[in-house]
Structure formats: structure tokens, C-alpha cells
């Protein structure tokens, strides 16, 4: 337990210090959202209608792109080998690393959501709904994306290939995240049903992600 806590503390510290790049995700999120009005036009009513979708897409891309480095940096300086050989089960270590990554890179996205909601002309309720669904949904993105990160480090290939592999897997999270936000804002449907399915997706990925990532690390690293 102390080993896992130490791992989480270490990862967060590395991510937040110089060269960590956790906050670049937030900057990317901001940039994507700022780009959107140039594509769809500055009409405020339309932006408010598309707002939840834009925020969700931005958060999805931001959280996947920052995942690239989840195992890569540790692989380069050799600490990944120590983690694989340590007595802590690799699955738990993977889960701890993903949790640390979510705390350092995912949580800032949710904190930034109200500001970006302001830019997209979203009212209080809508912003709150999007922030809440992101809070519940981004762990699923991190934990499924971790599989891609583990594959990337074993193949010495990152970036585009990883995104191509992981993005189709994140479609359900996107669907239910946007559905729940829309339901809270306008929809005739209830907020509860898509929201609970979103929670379920997060919980499922919490189980599958660490096992798949650990399996690919175990089989892939020489």
C-alpha cells in the first residue's frame, strides 16, 4: 500500500514539475475549444447548443494526447523495469499510475470547464452538468487510454498509432457523456440513466484497463 501511495505521489510530483507537462493538457483543451467558434461560426445560440459536445471532444482529445507519456518516460529512465520487477502486482501499479495521471492531468481539465463554458455561452446548469459528467467520465478515458499507452511503450511507437487504436474504444464514453449533459440541459430524457451508465463504463474500465495494460507490459517488455 505504501509502495502504491509512493508511486502516486512520485508521479504527480513529476507531472507537475518542469518537464512534466500535465498542464499542457489544459492548454490544449483551451486551444481546441477556442478553435471551435472559428469552425462553426460565432453565433452564441448555436455555440450554446453545441457546447457540451465541444467540451467533451476537447476533453477527450486532451486526456488521450497527454497519455502518450504515461509509461514512456519511465521506460526511458529505467524505472518501469523496477516497477515491473517489484513485489507489488503490476496491475495495481498500473492502476496507481493511471490514478496519478488522472489527478495530475484529468482533474485540471474539469477545473477549467467552467471557464470554457463561459466562452461557449453555457449557463450555470449546463456547465455544472458538463463538469459533473467529465468528472465521472474522464477516469474511463484515462484507464482505457492506458492500454494504448502500454502498447505504445512496448512497440516504441507512440502518438498517432495510439490515438487511432484508442479513440474507437472511447466512443461509448463520449456518447453517454454528451447524452447525460444534453439530458440535464434540454432533453426530454432523464439525466439519471445515461449518467449511471457513464459511471458503469468508468467502473468497467477501472477493472479492464489495468489488467490489459499490465498484460501488454508483461508480454511486451524484454
Amino acid at each position: 500500500m505504501t509502495a502504491l501511495a509512493a508511486l502516486i505521489r512520485r508521479d504527480i510530483r513529476i507531472a507537475l514539475r518542469v518537464g512534466g507537462g500535465a498542464l499542457i493538457g489544459v492548454l490544449f483543451f483551451l486551444t481546441v475549444v477556442v478553435l471551435m467558434p472559428f469552425a462553426v461560426g460565432p453565433d452564441l445560440a448555436q455555440l450554446a447548443r453545441l457546447g457540451p459536445a465541444i467540451l467533451w471532444l476537447g476533453a477527450l482529445l486532451a486526456s488521450l494526447l497527454t497519455l502518450d507519456r504515461l509509461f514512456m518516460a519511465d521506460h526511458e529512465d529505467g524505472s518501469l523495469d523496477l516497477i515491473t520487477m517489484s513485489r507489488t502486482p503490476l496491475e495495481l501499479a498500473c492502476a496507481a499510475k493511471a490514478l496519478a495521471h488522472w489527478l495530475a492531468a484529468g482533474l485540471p481539465l474539469i477545473v477549467a470547464t467552467p471557464v470554457l463554458g463561459l466562452l461557449l455561452n453555457l449557463d450555470m446548469v449546463a456547465t455544472g452538468a458538463v463538469a459533473l459528467t467529465l468528472l465521472v467520465g474522464t477516469p474511463a478515458l484515462t484507464f482505457t487510454g492506458m492500454i494504448g499507452a502500454a502498447l505504445a511503450v512496448t512497440l516504441h511507437r507512440g502518438g498517432l498509432l495510439m490515438a487511432v487504436l484508442v479513440l474507437p474504444l472511447s466512443i461509448p464514453v463520449l456518447i453517454f457523456g454528451v447524452a447525460a449533459s444534453q439530458a440535464a440541459i434540454t432533453g426530454p430524457l432523464s439525466f439519471g440513466a445515461p449518467f449511471s451508465i457513464l459511471c458503469a463504463l468508468s467502473l468497467v474500465s477501472l477493472v479492464i484497463g489495468p489488467f490489459a495494460a499490465a498484460a501488454s507490459l508483461k508480454h511486451g517488455l524484454d
Partner: protein, 261 residues
Amino acid sequence: MTLIDLANPTRFLALSARVLPWLAAATVILLTIGLYQSAYAPDDYQQGATVKIMFIHVPNAWLSMFVWGVMSVASLGTLVWRHPLADVAAKAAAPIGASFTFLALLTGSLWGRPMWGTYWEWDARLTSVLILFLMYLGLMALWRAVEDPSRAARAAAVLTLVGAINLPIIKFSVDWWNTLHQPASVMRMGGSTLDKAFLIPLLVMAVAFTLLFVTLHIAAMRNEILRRRVRSLQMMQASRIAFSSDVGTGSRQENASKGAA
């Protein structure tokens, strides 16, 4: 004959060389019968002659999912039992599965043009098949991204199994998404309400396409095994040239191995 007996690639090559002509012949015969039957099937009272696209479309769609299942079993073979031919089977199946998926999409959209008035409809079923197609392409990109086949095999196996768990979830969520955005306005064919005149050709075609897949798959596996042999021979040759101090012996050995191959 158990699966483990096939672990020796040479034995697999010998056995498959004997089986393959019979499989190919059975495929051709069944395909001929199926195509003949579907060509002479009566027109549907609503859809007219376009109903005949179904005889191609449905077997393709069924195989697009079946092939992922085959790849998942092969991936289990790679990761759990370390069967030497499992990753060959998984790799050979991916492009075939992608082709079946693409044909299912293509025939579906050709059918959709006269029936729905559009080539593409964001219908739940179409969308989830499209995502399946994207995942096939991603998997093939993964196979191509890495030189070492065994390393790529384990990565692809993990991804295939994750996909196998995720595909039903994606299917379910796309269904939800579609009903949320638009009510079911598209016409659907009830599978069980099919008339015998349509059902029998369809079943024949389904069996014929499955046989076609098995034939193509075994042929592709043979190709993959031979390709790997060529690759290892080339690497042996390259290392022999690189490590021989005398250039003369290197080139002589090169000639010798060429003769052996």
C-alpha cells in the same frame, strides 16, 4: 489430431496443402449454388430486385463479426497457450475480416440508396459496423507498425481481446445514441419473418461465405508462414555476410543459401 499437433509449422503446411483444394472446391460449389438460387429468388413485393443485395450483404456482415471472434480465440492462444501458429492465424485473419466488413458496408449503402434515398444513414447498425471497420484498420496498422512479428503479435492480441470486450459495449451505446437522436424511422427486415424462398438461399450463401473465409484464412496463414521463413532466411544471410571476416566466404555462403531456399 489436436491443436497442439499443428504447432509445428511444417506439419501445418503439409496438412493444409492437403485440405485446401477440397475446401476451395466446396466453396466454389456452394457459392455457385447460392448465387444461382439468389439470382432466381423472387422479387420482394416492397423492395423489388434490390432484395437480392441481401444475399451478399448479410453473409458479409455475419462474417465481419465472426472473424473478430476467430481473432479473439487466436489471441487467447497467443497470450495464454503461446501456440506458435496462433499469432499467424490472428494476423492472417485481420485483412480478410476488414474486407468482409468493408463489403458489408458497401453493399449496405448500395441497398440504402434506392431504399432509404441516401447512401449513408447514421443508423445504429451501420455506425457500429463502421466502428468495427475502423478497429480492423487500427489493428492492421498495429501489425504493420512493428517489424518483429512476435512483439507485434502480443500487442495485437491484447488489443484484439480489449476490442472483443468493448465491441458489445460500443454496439449497445450506439443503439442508445441513435434512439436518442432520431426515432427508428428506417425500415428493418425481420430475420425470422423471412419467407422460405429467401431463407434457403441466404443460409446457403452464409455457409458458402464461411467456407470462403476458412479457405482464404488457411491460404493466408500459409503465406504468412512462408513470408516469415523468407524473412528469417534473409536475416540469417545478412548476419552471415555481416559477421564473416572474409568477403569472399560471405558471398559464397549467400549463393549456397540461395540454392537451399
